[in-house]
């Protein structure tokens, strides 16, 4: 037994997520792991130690685990943030939410002046992100609005959903789209027969992306973006975060291994290999090869599968009676035959698969596919997880439990787009049951909750607030019966998410033997009002025993 010196941190309160010892005042850390948690006199029994008072007035939780995010959140901050709500950047600066299209334009004009005086090339593009026009009434943004920012630079703004661009005339011109005769459902035309500058869906967006600075190749292997993402994680108390859909080419993996391996890199990154342009066999082989390259802070070897699209984009697959506004049913991204084959192969090789299903028909299909694959490849602890799974009903949660599945629900979506779901996409009744956290827990389905950053801001405490309060942006209580307790929410953003990543044995709670990963809080999330959970102040993190104050991130 090692008797090397170790540190005991005294804290105001330690929330452990271990029911045998739910809270404590001291935690002992040796070699980046938790030696013990409890009263000082118990821990002193381990031998020579230093008592550290850094956290004497702080509250410690297990390091928060974000089970569905994208490192691209770090990349996006190179563009101008234009969202409706305040949002913190990797430097800790809070960018105020913009209340009108006029405010959005003014913000872009300010950025343009900065570019001009900062010596940028006169035709360098200007890009923004996070726009959400649903908050601005019926007024849509048009190219004429962005022409007021510049007629020389290509100006482009990505919507918060990630599914729409608005661009100026110059960007349309560069993309060859400033012409009549365009006939595409994602390209609305003005009275003059020319595109209005709104471009919906991946194909229409790709036409302008490279002209407005959204260069996908650069973003796929973005070292600066990964570092920025890690700093955001520190500010939000996150010590383990997924990068949930990455093609993981060799050069990107090499970069991620190098960067995450640096002595002061603060987060454990869990990238999932996106299932795309591969056969199931190739995907599983790639996952197994990636598993061999995994490191302590870069956990490789899992697969992310897309079953359908998005509900607000009307590309999710819904069961009868379909979309409330009568839109045709959405799109399958992967056929059932392929999903069954992938599930069977992955089960046979012990490869973890997380499946994006938004609509309830996509969820049903994924359940059927796993049910068909399991008898041939029995796997007692596969932890296949449905991601988003926003419309699942109680019967589907029961099937998830019976099949050994986990779920990672999306309460943030409820806040940002719940009103739209209520009024337009799925209608009032089904909007009440979306992201049914209480049902999932009641039916015994292992559950995580997520931000899908950059679609919504990274911040598990905010996500917990959404699940606890179920308020929409307009203040509507949507589906109050699906609210969960603060205690359940805190367990969900730690142990719950860790379980879905098969990491619950090494992190997610504060107990002997686990990683010394802590979220360090200025306020006590169990003491504040549930309505104030999102306002709990975060000091920073401890990850593998290393201290990361947000103020220095």
């Amino acid at each position: 037994m090692s008797s090397s010196p170790f540190v005991i941190y005294r804290a105001k309160r330690i929330l452990t997520m271990n029911p045998a010892r739910p809270e404590a005042t001291h935690v002992a850390v040796r070699d980046g792991r938790i030696l013990g948690v409890g009263p000082l006199d118990e821990l002193a029994g381990w031998g020579t130690h230093t008592l550290d008072e850094t956290f004497a007035d702080k509250v410690l939780m297990p390091g928060l685990v974000e089970g569905h995010s994208h490192a691209a959140e770090g990349s996006f901050w190179r563009y101008r943030y234009l969202g409706r709500f305040d949002r913190m950047d990797p430097d800790g600066r809070v960018w105020p939410g913009l209340g009108s299209i006029e405010a959005v334009i003014a913000s872009l004009q300010e950025t343009e002046r900065g570019l001009a005086t900062g010596g940028a090339a006169p035709d360098a593009p200007l890009s923004g992100w996070g726009l959400d026009p649903i908050y601005y009434g019926d007024r849509r943004m048009a190219r004429e609005d962005l022409d007021r920012v510049s007629t020389v630079r290509a100006v482009g703004v990505m919507h918060a959903s990630g599914h729409i661009f608005n661009v100026n005339s110059r960007a349309l011109e560069l993309a060859g789209l400033l012409r009549t005769g365009v006939n595409h459902p994602g390209v609305p035309l003005g009275a003059d027969g020319l595109p209005t500058g709104e471009l919906k869906g991946p194909d229409a967006m790709t036409m302008v992306g490279r002209h407005i600075g959204y260069d996908r190749e650069a973003m796929a292997n973005d070292e600066g973006g990964l570092r920025a993402f890690a700093r955001l994680c520190v500010r939000q108390g996150v010590t383990t975060a997924t990068d949930l859909a990455n093609l993981l080419p060799d050069d990107a993996v090499a970069m991620m291994r190098r960067v995450t391996g640096e002595a002061r890199f603060p987060v454990r990154i869990v990238p999932f290999r996106r299932f795309q342009a591969l056969t199931p066999r190739q995907a599983v082989d790639h996952a197994l090869a990636l598993r061999g390259q995994a490191t302590d802070r870069l956990r490789l070897g899992a697969i992310k599968l897309f079953v359908d699209g998005s509900i607000q984009g009307f590309s999710a697959r819904l069961r009868w009676p379909g979309y409330f506004n009568g839109a045709p049913n959405g799109l399958w991204y992967t056929p059932p035959e392929t999903i069954r084959e992938l599930y069977a192969l992955a089960l046979g090789h012990g490869v973890l698969v997380h499946s994006h299903t938004n609509g309830d028909q996509a969820t049903e299909m994924a359940l059927d596919c796993l049910e068909a694959a399991l008898p041939g490849q029995p796997a007692r602890d596969h932890r296949f997880t449905l991601q988003h799974c926003q419309l699942a009903d109680a019967a589907q949660f029961r099937r998830m439990r019976q099949l050994g599945m986990c779920v990672n629900l999306f309460p943030n979506h409820h806040f940002y787009w719940g009103d739209q779901h209520y009024e337009i996409t799925v209608g009032p009744e089904r909007a009440l049951r979306m992201n049914a956290c209480a049902t999932a827990l009641a039916e015994g389905v292992p559950m995580a909750i997520h931000s899908d950053a950059p679609v919504t801001p990274l911040g598990p405490l905010f996500t917990a607030w959404c699940a606890v309060n179920r308020r929409t942006a307009s203040g509507r209580m949507l589906g109050g019966s699906e609210r969960i307790s603060v205690a359940d929410a805190l367990r969900t953003i730690t142990l719950g998410a860790a379980w879905t990543l098969k990491l619950d044995g090494e992190l997610g709670s504060i107990e002997c033997g686990k990683r010394a990963d802590f979220a360090v809080l200025e306020d006590d999330p169990l003491a504040v009002a549930p309505e104030a959970l999102k306002d709990v102040r975060i000091w920073g993190t401890v990850q593998d025993g290393r201290l990361f104050p947000a103020a220095e991130a």
């Binding site: 789209l177 056929p335 059932p336």
Partner: protein, 305 residues
Amino acid sequence: MDEPPLAWRGRLPVTLIGGYLGAGKTTLVNALLRAADGRKLCVLVNDFGSVPIDRDLIVAAGGDTLELSGGCVCCQYGSDLIETLADLPVRQPQVERVLLETSGVALPDQVAASLSLLPGYRLDGVVVLADAETVRARADDRYVGDTIRRQLAAADLVIANRCDLVSPAARDEVLRWLAGEVPGARLLAAAHAAIAPELALGLREGAVVPPAGPRSPDAAALYESVALDLPAGIDLEALARRLTDPALGVLRAKGIVADGSRRRALHVVGARAAIDEAPPAARPGRLVAIGLRGRFDRAAIARAL
């Protein structure tokens, strides 16, 4: 009459090849490559994962591109069809025609709409393969049924494939069902996707009568056509609306009228119609229409003029 409209000049023709998993898309692509006859084709496939090209056709492989015999190439596009198409004329300037094999759950009309964003291309036609053995069951599948039906509905040409695997009675039954399901499309029965390549290419080009050479013995048996005088000054928009009425059974029609020194051309493909400028040399005053034998109402077409 066979010259393409002016607006098409310089645009690469793209034939979409759609249909569900296992319907024979790859088999058809290989057949079309073998019949390329000196034309430089570019085959775009979603991915190389399932070995899309017969090995004896592959000359060299590198990255996202396979070099094929006869100067043809095959590229995978994955999630980036638009970028692949945008870069293609630069990377492969020799290409004369594109065969775009969609993924098994893609909707061809959506792919066609995306194609319209790129000024360098024009849609040559949509071919959708249906597995004669399974298509009816799949069309009723609670998950993929509507996808199958939407794929078929987008077709200019439906190939009922794998007919060798079903009895003649079952084949006729599925052909009847397909004819009712997609009245606006041409319909061919095939085994191993073996059809005359001319029948799959140039679906929206000038020729309204399918070439009935020795390589397409089934064309004459399947189709009948009618040629009518087109009065000068006829309202082409109104005519287009009448000719697209499914009751007439018009699969394709083309007519040219004089408008001063200009020539205007009406193209009808099933339920769709387009009017554009024809080359000044085009001879005006004639309408040629074609339909499936037995489902083609000549008298009603004559009345439509």
